[in-house]
Amino acid sequence: MELKCEKLTYEYDAGTSMAKRAVDEISLTIPSGQFVGIVGHTGSGKTTFVQLLDGLLKPTAGVVSLDGVDIASKGFDRRSMRSSVGIVFQYPEYQLFESTVLKDVSFGPKNQGLTDEEAAKAAAEALRKVGIEEEVFPSSPFELSGGQRRRVAIAGVIAMEPKILILDEPTAGLDPAGREEILGLLSNLWKDGMTVILVSHSMEDVARYVERILVMDRGKIFLDGAPREVFSHSEELEAIGLAAPEVSYILKALKDAGIDVDPTITTVEEAVKEIKRKLC
């Protein structure tokens, strides 16, 4: 499913003297099956932008369309939205509310009109995808660890089988192993054909996993490209409160010390290969 926005604009307190433009005339296309990272400092408009993509906010101006259909138009079936675009908010585990894990994840599919049995089946499948074992299904969500709760919350969205999955900082507050689990899970969903849009404060994570990075600053797209390309602009990124992944600074330090490594490398794996080549 292709997601497209044209001159997408959103103003808080629109029409008043307090109007603040959070998203400013963004036009771009996200083709089906792409893994996209969105980065930007706090307040750059990331969260507002993804809420527009998901139809949770109505644009002040401009259009969001799915496979060419404007989601604000009369012809668009709003009910189908949740099976097209799923969104996982920040700290989604705070929204778990049912008495068991399975019931919680079944809630979305039931709302889509599935029978209890069908919903439970969809929920079980989603839980399997996020790596939650069957023996945990009857537990209360509150008995789980932080990382498990986060994965259950993500399963709640996946169970509605969206074509496009948007996640707003899904790894915030997790320990390193928990972060890896979530990112590995997203990578698997993407390999199975889902479009994944990941909002993140971790340059290391986006460098390692996504195909395309959108850098936001003051409501606009500041840079748009493959990780290597985007992170080659490290000084511009620093000027807007971001950074390149730590490993590219490591390579720069090596280069400054007289070892001729390629400083545009952005992942640990590639860096190790490159340094080894120069040392052997």
Partner: protein, 292 residues
């Protein structure tokens, strides 16, 4: 002489869940026999996976929780002594993860003044303390700004100024950077290091970011309510397999060095920073040249 500012002696803590009749439903032991000793002026980091007991331990250090067993002594005072609670909280301030939950004033300087006002500090001195604290965290230019116009890193620094204005000897920071962008993270860590270096305030930092731990004097790693590793950053990050077992990772420069070593390149242990790595690589090349 004993210069410890915080000392926990074999503390254990149980979260007890009761039903509506007050009967005990379940008991979860979050801390088991934890001994932690922090010397005045130290910068220590506590690492540990989600649910390992870090935050529970942190809450014991300024008497937000009192241990089920054992004792916690802060600046010579037992946290179980209710009469000493105010003194303890003045001595050991706390910063939490979400800056938005900690700011209450509508103007930055008002927010920073809240703590000393509550302590009954005379108004003239409050104004001085507020000014000083904001200068220390680099937020003096925003004294009259509205907190909700600030970035996450700036808000967190205002929270730190609010604690500083109470003139604490020690600040406990419970994942202060978890919700911040890279710039905000840098600002907060820089502020914490400056407080430690310049003001000699003891810092206890809890974090999931390994890079933030490399400047501390000592690191403690927790797992299932116990302290399972402790040592200098060099010592701790020289034990990658063990860290992985506890769901931790390595600082990036250490990770690169570790993987190069595995590939047969003989680099020294305990590399923490990019400059150390660059130096070690240059030395490796020089040595190899000599051998040829």
């Amino acid at each position: 002489m004993d210069n410890s500012i915080i000392q926990t002696n074999q503390i254990s803590y149980d979260y007890v869940r009761t039903d509506e009749n007050g009967e005990v439903e379940s008991v979860h032991r979050a801390l088991t026999a934890v001994d932690l000793k922090v010397s005045a002026g130290d910068f220590i980091t506590i690492l540990g996976h989600n649910g390992s007991g870090k935050s529970t331990l942190a809450k014991h250090l300024n008497a937000l929780l009192v241990p089920t067993e054992g004792t916690v002594i802060v600046d010579g005072k037992d946290t179980a002594d209710e009469e000493k609670i105010l003194e303890i909280r003045q001595c050991a301030g706390m910063i939490f993860q979400n800056p938005d939950n900690q700011i209450i004033g509508t103007v930055v300087e008002e927010d920073v003044a809240f703590g000393p006002e509550n302590m009954g500090v005379p108004p003239k001195e409050i104004a001085e303390r507020v000014k000083e604290s904001l200068i220390t965290v680099g937020m003096a230019d925003y004294a009259e700004a509205s907190p909700n116009k600030l970035s996450g890193g700036q808000k967190q620094r205002v929270s730190i100024a609010g604690v500083l204005a109470m003139h604490p000897k020690c600040i406990i920071m419970d994942e202060p950077t978890a919700m911040l962008d890279p710039q905000g993270r840098k600002e907060v860590i820089r502020a914490a290091r400056a407080l430690n270096d310049v003001e000699k305030i003891t810092i206890i930092l809890i974090t999931h970011y390994m890079e933030e731990a490399i400047y501390s004097d000592r690191i403690f790693v927790m797992d299932r309510g116990k302290i399972v590793m402790q040592g200098t950053p060099k010592e701790i990050f020289s034990r990658p397999e063990e860290l992985k077992k506890y769901r931790m990772s390595l600082p990036q420069a250490t990770e690169v060095a570790y993987r190069l070593k595995k590939e047969g390149i003989d680099l020294p242990d305990g590399i923490l920073e990019k400059k150390e790595l660059a130096k070690a690589c240059v030395e490796y090349l020089a040595k190899k040249k000599q051998e040829v």
